[in-house]
Subunit: 191 residues, 2 copies
């Protein structure tokens, strides 16, 4: 074995197990497009990725990344809107097997533009409404930036209160690092 | 995907990745022998499992379990001693790829006999001394019993202070359960 996975790598391990060909999935934070690309490969030509970002730069970068990787844009819906608008873009009866969020700011982008709990939590809630049984929501919580700590506390507080009869909720994170390593939050609909 | 793994199941997933044929490994808490059996299968005929428990009942049960599963006792050293005696039973230059501890009391046994930080932490420290690069120590922390909370805090406190340049230290645990679900602590020697 090499180094054990960090939070981000572990999120992809969970996606690999949860997402299959033909699935519908959500990337709640398009960013530089890495997760959208990863998901597009997993769901294939019969699947669909709904990917959200309020920043035009994210849509531009992600479009380029997808084209470079020969991913058909027919299967990927790049939506230049806040992820709290998920319900406006997903058909009501559309069921998703997974959603992923990378909270914080866009790497390489404007650090003043950050995700905030007042839109993050409604976005996660929308994903839960569309989630199939055994489907998962992965949230990579970066919190080293101003405002990050508040978001982390609110998102974890929200997740801790999800009914254990209906949801499995786990965290995975490094605990011996001086800086603030990201925390992976895993929410699964258990029945 | 089915239910995502709980802490105990995740410990086995890590062992599967970290342990290969011929490896030397430690089961720090023999208990009912499930981890010793799992490890014995992973290391095979050229490997060795050193397994510790202060309770005679554990050695008896584990011997039975191994024989029932046709595991040669030549490859498994069942040691009826505290795990803080690891260094007395392991050759000084013996390198291990993994160690596992299930802290708390023996399931189905005497609940008054519990693991305690004054022996748990020296035992983990001994394992670290014998650990190969990329080798891992897995600690499943049960803490719902009297004395469990203190052990959890001390063991996690010890792990948080392991130098991040030398060790990867992660936790994986459920966060939405009313009772005290176990916490999986993962310590990896990174270089």
């Amino acid at each position: 074995m090499k180094q054990i996975p960090n939070a981000l790598q572990m999120s992809h391990k969970f996606l690999l197990e949860a997402v299959g060909f033909g699935d519908k999935v959500i990337d709640g934070t398009m960013g530089n497009g890495n997760d959208t690309l990863f998901l597009a490969k997993l769901v294939g030509k019969n699947g669909k990725v709904y990917s959200f970002d309020i920043q035009k730069q994210a849509v531009k970068k992600t479009t380029e990344l997808l084209l470079k990787n020969h991913i058909s844009l027919e299967n990927v819906n790049l939506i230049n809107e806040s992820h709290d608008k998920i319900n406006e873009f997903l058909p009501t009866n559309e069921n998703i097997s997974a959603a992923i969020f990378n909270l914080g700011y866009l790497p390489g982008g404007d650090k003043a533009i950050i995700t905030k709990p007042k839109s993050t939590i409604p976005a996660i809630t929308s994903c839960i409404e569309h989630l199939i049984v055994h489907g998962i929501i992965l949230v990579v919580l970066y919190y080293g930036h101003p405002g990050g700590e508040e978001e982390k506390d609110k998102v974890l507080g929200f997740a801790e209160n999800l009914d254990q009869r209906i949801f499995n909720v786990f965290t995975y994170s490094a605990i011996n690092e001086i800086n603030e390593p990201p925390i992976l939050l895993i929410i699964q609909k258990r029945k």
